[in-house]
Symmetry: C2
Subunit: 209 residues, 2 copies
């Protein structure tokens, strides 16, 4: 099993944190996004989407998409559970995952990729050229503010995002907020529950992964 | 258990097709999106996000987000499996789900919600006003063309999207293509595998749901 990875990108980092929480030993192969190694023939042969992270299995099967990789690892290495045990837990974690994905990580990605010069013609990850849309930068700030408010409200009544213990939803939300910070979009001080939770998560060993 | 639903919207329809495939009997309550019943106090009390569909459980817990609702039902009513059995199947279905979600359904949603006059100030679903960005209409056509190509390529080697049998990924891809059609964005004839698969899926009883 080989995880194709790039240290600085948010999605690969989600998977590394997940792996660290489960304490699984997986071979890592670096694909340098800055050198665009992800859209070169060698890598596209392994993963035609050119996206990272990508988990190559020993039987030559492969899994792209960070959360699909986590799903595979959750099923193979269930302890500790990070995607829920009961049907309700699993559903509530998936619900928060999607809220974080659509309203947090996507918005943080739009803020970053539509602004930075280096992503001029690749505002969406993958092998196809997509132009930047400057209006998305301003919109992402609005979306992220709504997102921070919603997460803060949830955390004002729960220690962790999905309501039970620490889960993949906490990893995703941490990454969303960290990634928004790349574009200097940070939760206001008034979101005290969110900010307190963020500092608590930051102390976990896995976050260094 | 009550499913809050609106017949014409794509996400609620995904869940209804999923329920029909599993042959589960669930009470349906209509929330009229056209009359904006989803952002009125009565509904926001049940589901603060104002989104549809929403599954209200008998113990007062609730699940929003279409795929989280499907996850709950998959766990409660595993037969027939629509989200995979083995770790690899589960991961590959989740991988395709996310590809469809981010590159298909999102793009179809952007094409529609950024154009139609009725969504002028609510280009993103939910209770917060978000302005339309006309540049997203043109971009969505490009994204959907890439998406059709990718799905066609996958279906040129597989009978169903995730590689095994019929799964939730087929439901989601069907909805993505149908939804793109609302904006008159349709797969070119050259995508023969995709078009053949679409006609095959259309014949399933569940699609009438």
């Amino acid at each position: 099993m080989i995880l194709h990875d790039f240290e600085r990108a948010p999605n690969p980092r989600r998977v590394r944190i997940f792996i660290a929480e489960k304490n699984i030993d997986i071979e890592i192969k670096k694909i340098d996004l800055m050198k665009r190694e992800n859209v070169q023939t060698d890598y596209l042969k392994i993963n035609p989407s050119g996206a990272l992270p990508f988990l190559q299995l020993d039987d030559k099967n492969g899994i792209s998409e960070s959360i699909a990789i986590c799903r595979y690892l959750e099923e193979k290495y269930p302890d500790p559970r990070l995607m829920g045990s009961s049907p309700l837990e699993k559903a509530q974690i998936e619900m928060w995952q999607r809220i974080i994905e659509f309203h947090g990580i996507s918005a943080a990605g739009e803020a970053f990729r539509n602004k930075v010069e280096g992503f001029k013609d690749r505002a969406i990850a993958g092998p196809n050229p997509i132009k930047q849309i400057p209006d998305l930068i301003e919109r992402s700030k609005i979306l992220l503010d709504h997102f921070f408010k919603r997460i803060d409200s949830q955390l004002s009544q729960n220690d962790y995002i999905a309501g039970g213990g620490f889960s993949i939803a906490d990893i995703s939300a941490y990454i969303a907020i960290d990634f928004a910070g790349w574009s200097k979009i940070v939760p206001e001080e008034k979101f005290t529950s969110l900010n307190k939770w963020f500092e608590k998560i930051k102390l976990r060993d896995s976050i260094k992964a």
